[in-house]
Each structure stands twice: as structure tokens, then as C-alpha cells.
Amino acid sequence: METLTFNQKLGRFIVNWIFLMLVWIMFTTTFASHEILIGLITTGLISLFSIRLFTCCNISILSPVKIFWMIWYLGVFTVALIKANLDVARRVISPELPINPGIVKFKTKLKTNYAKMVLANSITLTPGTLSIDIVDDTFYIHWIDVKTTNPEEAFKEIAEDFEKVLLKIF
């Protein structure tokens, strides 16, 4: 496991704490002082014990530019999700079942494991693709309607839009 300096640990702890506190407020949906106090203590303790487990990023993730790109990513992702559903619906309803399945691969430029995980999850939820495995920086994707088996073209077709935004966040 990687060794962290005190500053890195502090940064991760704070990011973790803020995130958990947001979830706490969303679940309790109240700003009563005793609820907030208990929430601060609970989430603080949890994030203290899970510095290595839960956090992906240092405190730099909270900069406004990155938060803007995160919200942008959510938008891109939602559009892709709705498209994916209409696509699946079209394939399921049409009588001749228009599919041409296969497994393709492509390489990504993303470095950290968390970025790769987010990309793989997004690929699974976008039209006609399902991520099967990641080996180092190569993604193996089950594609319901294979248009090309060339890795570069497949990358352009499947993952380029997501990766552009993810490179700005991570």
C-alpha cells in the first residue's frame, strides 16, 4: 500500500468528511442543531478510520473548476443514459432483434484506478456497451452492435466523450 504524508492524509480526511456530511444531511433532511452535531461526530469518526479505504482524491478535487466539470460530466452521462435506454428499447421491440454482438478492446489515457472505475461504469450505462474487464490500461467491452474491431475507432465510438471530461477531473 502507498504511504501518505500527513498533508495528504489531512486532505483526504477533509474531502471524505465533507462528502459524508452531505450524505448525512440528505438523509436526515433537517438542519436542527443536535442532528448536525451527531452527524459531524459520526461522519468525522468514519472518515478518520477510512482514510485509506474510501477516498480517491486529495483536497484539490474541491476546486470550482473541477466541480464544474463534475456537473458537466453528470449532464453528459444523463444524456448518454437516456439514449442507451431508448436504444435498448428499440432493439428489444423490433421483431428481427437487430444485434451483432462481440467483444472489442481499446486503450485509455486515464491513470488512477478511480478514474478507470468511473469510466467503466459509465461505459456500462451507455448505448449497447458493457465493460467486462480492465487489464492495466486496456478495456474489454462487450458491444451489442459491433461497428468496428479496430481499437482506436472503437475508442472514438465508445469512450472519447467521457474520457475528455474525466481527464480534467482526475
Binding site: 437516456i82 442507451a84 435506454n85 428499447a89 450505462l125 458493457l130 465493460s131 474487464d133 474491431t149
Partner: protein, 124 residues
């Protein structure tokens, strides 16, 4: 009927239609990978829209916030579970259904499984 109830009702209807299509897809697709495709995507948007519909129908911001938390949870957990299922199925020796003639070229993952002893030993 308030506006909240109308919007919530529409969202719940859309959600149930997508969930139905997901079920139909699981029935119609030829193999497990394609079934997972239909199952994951249609049920994700279906469940999201249904939960958001229930949240909006109640008409208070507490409910809407809580339904958003559940939606985020679904968006993270659903693809992970389907990925794990697909990978485990492949490593257990099931090969995807391939329509086209060129079967070698259409299955890029096979070479990885065959060259990696760690992945190969799972196969039965």
C-alpha cells in the same frame, strides 16, 4: 390532483414501461451478455425514474432529496454488479454468442483469458 401528483405519475409510468422492456429484453436476447445489456440499462433508468416519481409525488423537498440519494446509489451499484456478473460468466467458460463469420476477431477478450494463468485457472 396537484402538479406534483401529475408529474410523479408520469415519471412512474415511464419507469414501469422501461422496467417492462428490460424484462422483455432478458427474455428475448440470445445469451447472457446480451441479457445483461438489456437488464442493466433498462432497469437503471426505469428504477431511477420510478423512485424520482415517488419522491415528487410526495411533494416535499425531503422526499425528493432522499430519492436523489437512492438514485445515485443505483447509478453506482447497478453497473458494478452487471460487470461482475459478465466477467465471472466469461471466466467460468461461457463464450458470447457471435453472429458474424469472423469469430476470432469479434472476441478480443479470449486471448487475455488464454494467456493469463490466473484468469485461466478459474475456467471449468
Amino acid at each position: 390532483m396537484t402538479y406534483y401528483e401529475i408529474i410523479g405519475g408520469i415519471l412512474i409510468t415511464i419507469g414501469s414501461i422501461f422496467l417492462f422492456l428490460g424484462g422483455l429484453g432478458i427474455y428475448r436476447m440470445p445469451d447472457i451478455f446480451n441479457r445483461l445489456q438489456a437488464g442493466t440499462k433498462a432497469t437503471t433508468l426505469g428504477a431511477m425514474s420510478l423512485i424520482l416519481g415517488v419522491g415528487i409525488m410526495e411533494g416535499t423537498w425531503e422526499w425528493i432529496l432522499k430519492s436523489f440519494v437512492i438514485i445515485v446509489y443505483i447509478a453506482f451499484s447497478n453497473p458494478i454488479s452487471s460487470h461482475a456478473l459478465a466477467r465471472a460468466t466469461y471466466l467460468r467458460g461461457h463464450r458470447p454468442y457471435i453472429k458474424s463469420e469472423d469469430k476470432e476477431k469479434m472476441d478480443a477478450y479470449r486471448e487475455v483469458v488464454e494467456n493469463d494463468p490466473k484468469r485461466k485457472e478459474v475456467e471449468v
